[in-house]
């Protein structure tokens, strides 16, 4: 356990460095963007050359790059991401308002893809080479080739336009005063299609990983030993073969969180879900670079936190991590 804690501390220290690099990267992009905060401000409010001079000085934009980077870091340490010109509000507030919707979408899509993907993977991998194994293997490869945003549109055509079973977009029915369970049910109905569109690609990924891991595990000596002990097939598959194939999937869960955040940009745009991804697209459309970079920083922090959580989960699930692989 102490080893696991030391490993965790190493990861936290490493993460701080990684985030620092991300901050410097976003600062460089911010500098490279045409125009600065003052230009954006003047465009929206108007003002003369003297005003521009004054604002540049007040916001510290007339100082050297290094001083500005230091100011930027100092502001970030106070969780100050600056002001959004398009929303005329602090960027932090705009992001915090949208974040819960994206988290809800991501957690649901992860639950769907991980749960169903690993279950189908176990089903396929339990009998390697069987008809169902080949069918699921080819089916998952085909699913893996489908772009999420296009799948989203196809689902809209089928379930929202033709069948009219599900709402076409949004996170909940507007201007309805639903509360409690009714509201939760309303949100859940709105989430079905976006969650499917976002989660299906990863479902294919987890299915394939589980299947490949199980194919590997079947060849191991401990499976032969378990067979020799006369375990029932069900116990053999679940307790020995699948269990060993599960650990890499948990690592993948952390690695995929960044991809999924990226994927939510298009999915939220397709389904008009007011989340972080849709906000990123709005920021691009209105050329609000500070807002876009604020979203990138928030996502990076989110990814780091998710990966740390995955590391902790891993340390609990895999006894070897605590025992001797601290350097790995």
């Amino acid at each position: 356990m102490i080893r696991a804690l030391m490993l965790l501390r190493r990861r936290v220290v490493g993460s701080v460095f990684v985030l620092l690099i991300v901050v410097i990267g976003t600062f460089v992009l911010l500098e490279a963007a045409p125009g600065d905060a003052v230009d954006a401000y003047i465009v929206s409010t108007g003002g003369d050359a003297g005003m521009i001079e004054l604002l540049r000085h007040r916001w510290g934009l007339d100082q050297s790059e290094l001083t500005r980077l230091a100011n930027y870091l100092w502001a970030l340490l106070h969780l100050d991401l600056g002001q959004s010109v398009t929303f005329a509000r602090p960027i932090r507030d705009v992001i915090l308002e949208r974040l819960p919707n994206t988290l809800l979408l991501m957690v649901s899509a992860t639950a769907l893809s991980f749960g169903l993907g690993s279950a189908l993977g176990i089903y396929a991998g339990a009998r390697p080479g069987s008809a169902r194994d080949r069918f699921l293997s080819i089916g998952s490869l085909a699913l893996y080739a489908v772009p999420g945003f296009w799948l989203g549109l196809v689902l809209i055509v089928i379930f929202a336009v033709d069948l009219r079973w599900l709402p076409i977009g949004g996170i909940e029915t507007l201007a309805s005063d639903k509360t409690g369970v009714d509201r939760a049910a309303d949100i859940a109905t709105h989430l079905i299609l976006p969650v499917a569109a976002l989660g299906f690609i990863y479902l294919a990924l987890y299915l394939r990983m589980m299947r490949a891991g199980m194919a590997e595990a079947w060849r191991q000596d401990f499976v032969l030993a378990a067979r020799a002990r006369g375990l029932s097939r069900r116990r053999l598959v679940l307790a020995h073969v699948a269990r060993n194939a599960l650990l890499p999937l948990i690592t993948m869960l952390g690695l995929q969180s960044a991809q999924m955040l990226g994927g939510s940009v298009v999915i939220e745009s397709v389904f008009s879900v007011p989340g972080l991804g849709r906000l990123a697209q709005e920021a691009v459309a209105s050329r609000d670079t500070p807002l876009l970079l604020g979203i990138i920083l928030t996502s990076a922090v989110l990814v780091v936190v998710i990966n740390l959580l995955v590391d902790i989960a891993y340390a609990f699930l895999d006894p070897r991590v605590g025992a001797g692989e601290a350097g790995a």
Binding site: L29, A32, W150, L153, L261, T289, L292
Partner: protein
């Protein structure tokens, strides 16, 4: 048995090869396609299979969907291959430097790699294109920026094992410059596992390009499948085929890349006796 015949023995690889051949044929035909795919070819919103001079119908502006589809194949293929090549090149150079130099250089390069993997690659591409401005070249770089860390990690792991081999030691003994050893002796031998990733990377690049164009961040002067899907979205209720047709082309392309890639990896694995 020759590698080509072994490759063609698996049905998946054959299917992949056929799909890719069709895609390349489409892209080549687009070179010969008379005129501009963005020109008005007939009445607006003609459904598919109605008029045989316009087999897949027309879009909102009356442009020929089939011509657009063929030209889109070119853009997809070009961006996918160029971005993957750039990502593999950056990744193998960074991975080789990190693995061969070790120490502080390794530490710094790997933290930078971590940083690039921490930022969602699609958001990075979005930010890069929106800051620099959309064009085919910028889209290629934007996609490569988010994809190189994978190959870099694999190259580094491979270099770490190669660096202790005898031929590297003898290259050191004859006084070769370390950079020359790294890029002449080590890098070429570290490439096979990196190249094994290329099908996945090409596929991811094609999908990312499509998503960028879908959000209106592709090259505005070129027809792309993602852009066609976005165009069709405006009339999704009345003419869903406009979004569905280019999407099918995308799925088949990416599937072809995956299948052919798996076939190649399997063929070479057999040859190296790893099967």
């Amino acid at each position: 048995m020759s590698p080509a015949r072994r490759f063609l023995r698996t049905p998946e690889a054959v299917a992949g090869a056929i799909l890719l051949a069709a895609l390349i044929a489409m892209a080549l035909v687009a070179l010969l396609f008379p005129g501009d795919p963005q020109a008005i070819a007939g009445p607006a919103l003609l459904p598919p299979f109605q008029d045989w001079s316009l087999p897949l119908g027309t879009d909102r502006l009356g442009r020929d969907v089939l011509a657009e589809l063929f030209h889109g194949a070119r853009a997809s293929l070009a961006v996918g291959l160029a971005a993957a090549a750039a990502a593999l090149a950056i990744g193998s150079v960074v991975g080789t430097l990190a693995g061969f130099a070790g120490g502080l250089v390794d530490e710094v390069l790997m933290r930078i790699t971590d940083a690039f993997q921490t930022v969602p690659s699609f958001l990075l591409a979005l930010a890069f294109v929106s800051v620099v401005g959309p064009s085919l070249g910028v889209v290629v770089i934007a996609i490569a920026l988010g994809t190189w860390p994978g190959p870099a990690r694999i190259a580094r792991a491979e270099v770490l094992s190669i660096r202790e081999r005898d031929y590297v030691a003898s290259a050191r003994a004859i006084g070769m410059h370390p950079l020359e050893i790294a890029f002449r002796e080590v890098l070429p031998n570290a490439l096979p596992p990196v190249l094994a990733m290329s099908s996945v990377i090409v596929a991811a690049a094609i999908l990312t390009e499509a998503a960028l164009s879908f959000l209106g961040l592709g090259d505005p002067n070129r027809v792309t499948w993602g852009g066609m899907i976005a165009e069709g979205r405006a009339v999704l209720r009345t003419a869903p085929f406009l979004s569905i047709v280019p999407g099918i082309a995308l799925v088949l392309t990416v599937l072809g890349v995956y299948l052919a890639g798996e076939g190649i990896v399997e063929t070479t694995a057999v040859r190296r006796g790893l099967s």
